[in-house]
């Protein structure tokens, strides 16, 4: 039987991908950021997950304003890195897991979560930057990925509560899959940042860290936080953090914190990263 063993969450700032792709990771500006992922690379090499359900948001790459799905699951066999306006990132294609993806889709729709099923899409920095942070620059990614795209661009995103409950539904779906595989759930985006308007550059270190504390120990209550608090306290783009609650919902009520990292700035953004394991 398939099992969910751990959750990973990380910011997915595009400038991080650009720094890595352009060989600037050792520069003083970027070095402390990448150092925050040294533990993570060793950890995931030991964990050897077969599949990551990777929760992220598309940034007007696969989805224009013609179609805006709230939750979309990628069921394809592979996904190409998107051309976001300056050519695709020089990273490997992402291998999917069509059998588990369609199993999850059927299961969670029957649990009242009406996912959109996507059989062809390119994946942008929202998905590929977390892969680079966790795996570096391999010739092939050592894990299969089920992309789960969440709308956080067109307000309103799904509520924190809905995201948390979707995580629980995904867990039930995975645990009813017959193959004996090791599955992780990843949440990406955040932490505090605002990319637009005269308030651009907003960072709220205290709020971010309190939010991380609650994500670990009190996620049920944290999931009730209304969108307005994210917008006011963590910036207009900080609301991406609701995606981390899908990851958290897929884990046990009590988890072990294996790693926690926080860094300001990456370009316009506060970077947060956390690794949680199931099992006491």
């Amino acid at each position: 039987m398939a099992r969910i063993t751990a959750g990973v969450a990380t910011s997915h700032v595009p400038a991080i991908g650009a720094a890595l792709d352009n060989g600037r990771a050792a520069e003083p500006y970027w070095k402390p950021l990448f150092a925050g992922y040294d533990f993570s690379k060793d950890w995931i090499a030991r964990q050897k997950p077969d599949v990551a359900v990777l929760v992220y948001n598309d940034h007007a790459s696969a989805f224009s304003l013609d179609i805006v799905p709230t939750f979309a699951i990628g069921c394809a066999a592979s996904f190409q890195p998107a051309d976001e306006g300056w050519g695709p990132r020089p990273v490997p294609a992402v291998a999917g897991h069509p059998e588990l993806a369609s199993h999850i889709a059927q299961s969670v729709i029957q649990q009242d979560f009406d996912l959109t099923i996507v059989n062809r899409m390119d994946v942008d920095h929202g998905l590929t930057v977390p892969m680079s942070l966790m795996f570096g620059q391999p010739e092939r990614w050592p894990v299969r990925v089920i992309p789960l795209a969440v709308n956080v661009v067109l307000f309103p995103p799904p509520s924190g509560r809905r995201c948390f409950e979707l995580g629980k539904a995904i867990r039930r779906a995975v645990e009813s899959f017959d193959e004996d595989i090791n599955v992780q759930v990843w949440g990406t985006g955040g932490m505090s940042h605002q990319l637009q308007g005269p308030r651009a550059g907003l960072i709220n270190r205290e709020w971010d860290n309190r939010w991380l504390d609650r994500l670990i120990d009190d996620p049920e209550e944290l999931a009730k936080m209304p969108h307005i608090e994210y917008l006011r306290e963590a910036g207009s783009e900080g609301v991406e953090l609701v995606m981390w609650l899908i990851m958290r919902g897929a884990l046990d009520a009590r988890v072990r914190t294996m790693h926690r990292f926080y860094h300001v700035p990456a370009s316009n953004t506060a970077v947060g990263h956390i690794i949680l394991e199931n099992g006491q």
């Binding site: 790459s61 637009q196 651009a200 960072i203 300001v264």
Partner: protein, 134 residues
């Protein structure tokens, strides 16, 4: 009955909601078209002629031509769509964010290195500004 918008008193911030998305549909789709290299070339060759192919308002077109990002946002643009426009110009998110704050890119980058813009005084319109006055 109108929708509740508790976010309308956040200073210097436009939330890209249903009303904004409706106003900005063609502006954002124009930006999206710049993901294709051929379209970027045609746009650069004659920006005005390219814009005239889109059913955008004159205000929206003028905001694009003058690269007034705050105005584009006000007229329904969304930053992730506008990213295709500033990428076409070879500009970064940080450059564009800086122009929207009225700071130089250097001053903005320094603010970020010093921990970013404080939320103090920036949560609500009319709130007392932060003591340090960032």
């Amino acid at each position: 009955m109108s929708l509740e918008k508790p976010y309308s008193d956040i200073p210097g911030t436009v939330i890209f909601d249903a009303d904004q998305a409706r106003k900005g549909y063609h502006l954002n789709q124009f930006c999206m078209s710049l993901m294709k290299a051929d379209n970027r070339t045609r746009f650069k060759h004659d920006e005005r002629a390219y814009l005239d192919e889109w059913p955008m308002s004159e205000d929206q077109k003028r905001a694009v031509l003058t690269r007034d990002y705050n105005r584009m946002i006000e007229l329904g643009g969304n930053i992730y769509f506008l990213a295709k426009l500033f990428s076409t110009d070879g500009k970064s998110f940080q450059y564009t964010a800086a122009t929207m704050t009225g700071m130089t890119q250097e001053a903005y980058a320094t603010m970020m290195l010093n921990g970013g813009r404080s939320p103090e005084g920036n949560r609500r319109v009319g709130e007392a500004p932060a003591k340090e006055g960032k």
